[in-house]
């Protein structure tokens, strides 16, 4: 028994915890949970909880269905929404095979493995995402015709407004669970909100994002609303993304920072950015994993469909924020493609791997692009050598399938399962008749 496990046992006893939820994440990024009683906790720390993985997306295995969930005691938190007479706690788990090896299909351990290889080079990855989402009236959402809870827009002060109230409650809950929020505000579109999390090391951040998604949805649900991270729920208004700020530290030093560089960017930052740009198309199927994700990545001014970087250009995939003087620790880059439906463990793994590849191979950073790429046509863009992100999930899967970087980073099991699963999703979408087709064609043909 380690000291952190003892701490959890003691807390469970002292606080009268009645139920412990063991959380883990499937390959598609959905949170899963197994509940155990406090009496079992001791044994579970020693041996894990055995369950049948075949029902979990991406957990199916050839020889054997059962896997073990082993709780990470350092992630123990009491759930603030549990009833006072029935306190509950949660821990994130790693998934193991019955003979105790890390299970290939476990996204959390895939990230841990990639973070370890960064650590072997001395690097720690920090991430700070800006999570966007919509609140809809829940009956309208369940009918598939989402109606926003309000019609306010960017930075409007809508204090009496229910959706701002929801956001406030959400933030208090996150803070109570040790997930500090940097900013939060009403976004551009009706009932669209943004919560910016304060940076943490990437594994904690992925755990935090899984928690955030649950908290946002749960608090909305309790008040008759439906919260969604769907990238493009409404026609004609901006979609929801998850711009993510990234930095690499070596001990206490932000290795993205160089005071003598014109941009304040170190060689490492430049190579990392070059790596991200170079491999961006390959990782897009994972960072933007839904058919719907590609509706956001088109015309919207906040979503970057082009593989370029810039300091101030909203059409750029990577932004290098201009920083306040004398704050070397805040040197960072912002990856703008991600959306809030991505599996954060896999997405962070790939972003890190792409950046590290850039460092290892010393990729040169292309020139900054200050053109507004929305205003030039495709021919001109191609002449300038500017690549576009995949335009559809299908194209993204085609590019991913060719990527040795993505295969190495995710491992064969997840790489192959993901492609199979998403190919099936695409072909199902392809075979559906959409409202667009009916509206456009039915009358005139």
């Amino acid at each position: 028994m380690t000291p952190d496990q003892e701490y959890v046992l003691r807390t469970v006893e002292e606080r009268g915890v009645r139920l412990i939820r063991l959380w883990f994440t499937d390959v598609l990024g959905q949170l899963k949970s197994v509940a155990i009683s406090p009496a079992e906790l001791d044994t579970v720390f020693e041996e894990g909880v055995q369950f049948d993985g075949t029902a979990i997306d991406g957990f199916s295995r050839v020889h054997e269905a059962d896997v073990l969930a082993r709780p990470d005691a350092t992630t123990f938190e009491l759930l603030p929404w549990a009833k006072a007479d029935e306190p509950s706690g949660r821990m994130f788990c790693n998934i193991a095979t019955l003979d105790g090896h890390p299970f290939d299909g476990d996204p959390r351990q895939i990230l841990q493995r990639n973070l370890r290889s960064a650590r072997e080079r001395g690097f720690t990855l920090y991430a700070a995402p800006e999570v966007e989402f919509f609140y809809f009236d829940s009956s309208s959402a369940s009918e598939g015709r989402p109606v926003p809870l309000d019609n306010a827009s960017y930075f409007d002060l809508t204090t009496a407004d229910i959706s701002s109230d929801l956001r406030k409650t959400t933030i208090h809950t996150l803070e109570a669970m040790g997930i500090p929020v940097e900013y939060s505000f009403h976004e551009d579109s009706p009932s669209q909100h943004e919560i910016d999390l304060r940076y943490t090391e990437a594994l904690s951040m992925a755990d935090n994002l899984m928690t955030l998604r649950l908290v946002v949805k749960k608090i909305a649900l309790d008040r008759g609303a439906h919260a969604t991270f769907l990238p493009k729920p409404l026609n004609g208004v901006q979609g929801s993304g998850m711009h993510t700020h990234l930095s690499l530290f070596e001990g206490d030093t932000n290795v993205f920072h160089d005071p003598d560089d014109e941009l304040g960017m170190s060689e490492i930052a430049k190579h990392f950015t070059a790596g991200l740009l170079h491999h961006a198309r390959e990782i897009t199927a994972v960072t933007n994993q839904l058919v719907n994700s590609y509706k956001r990545l088109t015309e919207s001014s906040e979503a970057p469909p082009y593989v370029v970087w810039a300091r101030n250009n909203r059409s750029a995939l990577v932004r290098v924020p201009v920083r306040k003087q004398g704050k070397p620790t805040s040197a960072r880059i912002e990856y703008r493609a991600l959306d809030g439906t991505a599996n954060p463990y896999l997405a962070f793994s790939l972003i890190l791997a792409a950046g590290l590849r850039g460092i290892d191979e010393q990729y040169p950073l292309p020139d900054e692009t200050n053109l507004n790429l929305f205003e030039i046509d495709d021919n001109e863009r191609k002449r300038l050598g500017v690549a576009a992100l995949p335009r559809s999930l299908q194209e993204a899967l085609d590019v991913m399938e060719e990527s040795e970087l993505v295969r190495d980073t995710l491992g064969d099991h997840v790489f192959e399962w993901f492609l199979r699963n998403k190919r099936a999703e695409w072909s199902e979408f392809q075979s559906r008749v959409t409202p667009f087709e009916l509206e456009r064609y039915l009358g005139s043909w």
Binding site: P3, D4, Y7, V8, R10, T11, E14, R15, A73, T74, T75, F76, E77, L78, P80, R119, T124, Y126, E175, A176, M177, G178, I179, P180, R198, Y199, T200, E201, S204, F249, E250, G251, D252, T253, T329
Partner: protein, 225 residues
Amino acid sequence: MEPLLVFPNPPPAELAQALDLGGWAWKGASGLNEARADQPADGWVGAVVFADTDPEEAFRICRSIRSGDIHVGSILLLINGGHLASLDFREDLFDDFCLTPFHPVELEARLKHLFRRSRQLARAEVIEYDALAMNLETYQAAIDGRPLDLTFMEYELLKFLASHPGKVFTRETLLSRVWGYDYYGGARTVDVHIRRLRSKLGEEHANLIQTVRSVGYSFGSSRWG
């Protein structure tokens, strides 16, 4: 919580301060009668005897302890370097000694060495500061009577800070004392956890932990100013 017996009463200010900052529970006694009257049921875990003010009385106390008159685990004698000769043939009266004027770090090291080894009981098992209460026995913390839900590392960090009110710690010190040297995350880990702790303490109490610009962090303020 079983206190250390400290002689004389009141002890010199620098001794009282060092004991407080180290988080030791202690009780002063001006003489044998008091030490006997205040003796806890299981006896004193240890005694810190300051011999510079009244050496005769100090040695008398040590002798009574040794004769079993009052029950004390081990004895730490504080004595001026110029009076070392008075220790001749009195080696049986103490378990360790520390020269005065003492260095607080040396005193702390000797206290730990002597009393931690015998029994861990002399350490305060409850930390109370303003609205914060921590029970080190049960690992529980509360603010304004409201339980704080802390992860293990948050708890360890708060315990460390709250055990040393007013003392400023660098990130490096916190990292090495709370996480241990083998932790790879670097001092930024400390910032992340401090921010998490402040969120859990709530807006009203977040300022219990202060950021000391370009140095590190401190908790509350020292009762010694």
